[in-house]
Structure formats: C-alpha cells, structure tokens
C-alpha cells in the first residue's frame, strides 16, 4: 500500500501541495488528474523521495519512503533526465545496473514496439521519441508501484495507443499503477480510481464504478465539473 499522510509542500511562499492525504491499494489503476501546475508532479516526486515534503509523509508498506522503497517503485518523470552522453542502449544498461527488477529482454521488446534503435543518442531524440524511451525503460521494470507522470505528453495518436498498451500490460493484482495526465478521456478506459488535484488540494477521489453508480457521472463529467472555467469559480451576481 502507498499512503500519503497530510502532505504539504511549500516553495518559499508558494504552496504547491496543501495537506493532501490518500491511500492507494495494489491491483488498482489510479489516474491523477488536473491541469498543469496543480501539484501532480510534486506529489509524484514526493512519493518516490525526489522531493522532500515540508510537512506530512509518504509511506510505502507502512515505512517512510527511502532508497530501499525505490527498489519497488518505478517513476517516470515528465522531463527528460538521461545523461547527455547516453544512447538508448546505455540507458537500458544503467537501469540494469541499478534495478534488480529490470528486464533487458523486455526493454528490447519495448524499444522495438516504440520503433527506437539502441544506437540512438538521447540528446538527439525528439520529445516524442524521448517520451517513448522513458516509458520503455520504466515499464521494463517489474515494479510493485509505477508512477507515470504525463506519459502521453507530446505523443501522436498512434504512439499513444502503443503507450497505453504498454501501461496496461503492467496491470497485475500486486501492482499499484498511477498515471498523471490532463488527458482524462484517454485514461478513462484503464482507470479504476481517479484523484482530482486542484491548486495543490485533493478536490475529489472517486472509484470509476462508484462514481457512475452513485452519481451517474463518468470521470470526464466530474473533471468538467471540477475544472470547468479553467478551474476558476463561476461568476456570481
């Protein structure tokens, strides 16, 4: 179980995440939804220990997040982060060196699916190719938690299908899969639960089926309701 307990993150006077709490259970796919700048990336980075919270804590299997947790948590950042001297092949070797759950065989198969060749230099990749590489190297791990930050950003329609297929293949009973995106309609079909993040707050958290059963709404309907008018309050006389 991945638990976020009263997390707040401040950058100077700006509060990026404000007193957010939730629990994520294995066997479920979570969509972390909301417009850019809402705090999704900060939350994910705190879940993997890249960013330290100002208050509160993230727990994995009841223990605070540490280097040890990263043995089982795979994070895909939205920004490119590979060393400039790396090739697609050496990125795989780097992951193989550090992560016991990394499969080079699976990585090579995913590279083929994403139409990437091992000799490509990372610094020459377009944003779309870079997004594919990040997905391939992250999903080649057999992790217990996947945190994917905007995996569909900068990706064309056909490549999106390949990425969603790759993400879907990781769904297992013992896996927590979290995908952040503002493309809610793309994620609806694979999502079990959705977290709506608005201006650093957890505005709502709903199971897809519960939401439909209890309120007759889809995840997209609720998204429109929460973030309608660009997330601003409607004008009232």
């Amino acid at each position: 179980m991945l638990e976020c307990r009263g997390i707040t993150k401040k950058y100077g006077r700006k509060t990026a995440v404000d007193d957010v709490s939730f629990r994520m259970m294995p066997g479920r796919v979570y969509a972390m939804l909301g417009p850019n700048g809402g705090g999704k990336t900060t939350l994910m980075k705190m879940a993997v220990g890249l960013t330290k919270p100002s208050r509160g804590e993230f727990l994995y299997k009841e223990e605070p997040i540490s280097g040890q947790s990263r043995k089982e948590i795979a994070y895909m950042s939205t920004e490119p982060y590979f060393y400039s001297w790396m090739t697609v092949e050496s990125v795989g070797k780097y992951y193989e060196d550090f992560f016991e759950d990394f499969s080079m065989e699976r990585y090579q198969a995913l590279l083929q699916r994403m139409q990437l060749t091992p000799d490509l230099k990372t610094k020459t990749l377009s944003s779309g190719m870079m997004a594919k590489l990040k997905i391939a190297v992250t999903m080649a791990r057999e992790a217990k938690v996947y945190l994917l930050d905007e995996p569909l950003n900068g990706i064309d329609l056909l490549a999106r299908e390949a990425i969603i297929k790759t993400i879907s293949e990781a769904i297992r009973n013992d896996v927590i899969l979290v995908v952040s995106s503002h493309l809610v309609d793309e994620l609806e079909k694979i999502t079990d639960e959705a977290l709506y993040i608005k201006e650093g707050h957890l505005a709502a958290m709903w199971g897809k089926d519960d939401l439909y059963r209890q309120q007759g709404k889809t995840l997209v309907d609720l998204y429109r309701e929460i973030y309608g008018n660009g997330g601003e309050q409607p004008w009232q006389n």
Partner: protein
C-alpha cells in the same frame, strides 16, 4: 557503490582523456630531449609533465565539485536519486571516486617520473650526471633541487588530504545552497561565504594541533586529522541531503 562509482568515473572521462593526451605530448617532447640530447626539449618536457601532474590533480577536484553541482541543479539529478541508493552512498561514491582518481593520477605521474628517470639513466649514462642535469634545470626555474624523497612523499599525501578536505567542504557548501538556502536570493554567495568560513575555521583548528617530536609524526598527525575532517563533513553533508534535499 561500485556501480555508482563507475558512472561517476564516466562523467569525468573526457577531461581525464584530455589530460592523458597533453601528458603524452609532454612525454614525447621529454623523450626527444633525452634521446636527441636536446636540453630545451628536456626542460620543456619536464616542466610540461610537472604542470600536467599539478593542474591535472587540482582540476579533478574542481571538476568533481562542478559535476556535483550539475547533479543537484539539473534534471540529470534523477539519474542518481531515482536509484535505490541512499544519499550517503551517492555522496560516498563521489568522494571515493574523486579520492581514487586523484591518488591514481598521482601514482601514474610518479611511475611516469620513475620510468623517465630510468630511461635517462640508461641513455645519459650515470645517476650523478642525471641528477646534476635535473638540479641545473630546477635552479634555472628557481626551484629547490635538494628535496628529500621522504618529504616529497609526505607532501604528496598532505596535498591529497588537504585537497580532499577542500572538496568535502565544497560538497557541503553546494548542498547547503541546494537545501537550506534553496530559492533564496544570493544563495550562491551565501554558500561561498560559508565555504570560506569553514575553510578558515578548519585551518585554524588544524593549526591548534600540538607539535610532535619529529617532522614525520607531525605530518602524519596532520594528514590523519585532515581525513577525520573529511569524514565529518561527509557525514554531515549526507545527513542534510537525506532529510532536506529536493531535486
């Protein structure tokens, strides 16, 4: 930690390659000097090798700080901090790789000097003549030609220890800039001031160490004290990284 060290080495491989190339050029000039009995070549080669050794070792320390700063201030930090390693291991790999690089570079230049000396002995014909030649070159550049070898070795160890101490202080200053003073105006300047204050404070503490009976004991005690300081700075820096560092 060996895997982290492997990638730390990879980050600085290019500058090490450049150093090797420049050293090779100086060595070729020196060998020309020896075999062609070309005194200017001998002098230029010797001086070139001396500066390669000195600046090469110094630059390795500086580059280690530049790399660490880049590792914390750019997205490439994820490459390190996404691995299942603690901040202590990440920092430790950097310190050990840098210490090893500096030590091995020193050893490389010492071995090179020994080989050059042997080649000169065979070619020029006698140790006395060779030493006289080295001394005459040293005198021309106002250097003391009568340094005892034991002192030279101790000086090298002392240089290594004090240089590592400076690097460890640099690491701490960089981490303070990225954590405690992150996002604040003049964080870089504040860190530089902290670095200078730490430098002054540590130098003052080391100067307070008691004098021992012999110069050898004195040197060894100061070298040991410098390594203790390195260990303290390492632990403190790792502790801050573990609790405060956001990349």
């Amino acid at each position: 930690m060996a895997k982290l060290m492997k990638y730390e080495f990879r980050k600085t491989m290019f500058s090490k390659f450049i150093l090797l190339m420049v050293t090779a050029m100086a060595e070729i000039i020196l060998l020309f000097g020896i075999f062609m009995e070309w005194e200017n070549g001998l002098a230029a080669g010797s001086i070139g090798l001396f500066f390669c050794a000195m600046f090469g070792i110094m630059y390795m320390g500086v580059e280690s700080l530049i790399t660490f700063h880049r590792d914390l201030s750019t997205k490439q930090s994820y490459m390190l901090f996404l691995t299942p390693k603690s901040s202590f291991q990440i920092l430790g790999a950097k310190v050990v790789e840098n210490a090893l690089s500096i030590f091995l570079t020193g050893l490389f230049f010492a071995l090179l000097a020994a080989i050059d000396l042997s080649v000169s002995l065979i070619r020029i014909g006698g140790l006395d003549e060779l030493l006289e030649l080295i001394k005459s070159i040293a005198r021309e550049f106002s250097l003391n030609p009568d340094i005892p070898w034991q002192d030279l070795l101790l000086s090298f160890l002392a240089l290594l220890a004090s240089w590592l101490m400076m690097i460890a202080m640099g690491y701490l200053a960089i981490v303070l800039a990225a954590t405690v003073f992150s996002g604040k105006r003049l964080s870089g300047v504040i860190s530089l001031i902290i670095y200078l204050l730490l430098n002054w404070g540590v130098s003052y503490l080391l100067s307070c160490l008691p004098d021992m009976n012999t110069m050898l004991q004195n040197s060894l005690m100061r070298i040991g004290a410098a390594f203790v300081v390195v260990a303290i700075f390492y632990l403190f820096t790792g502790w801050i990284m573990e609790r405060k560092l956001s990349v």
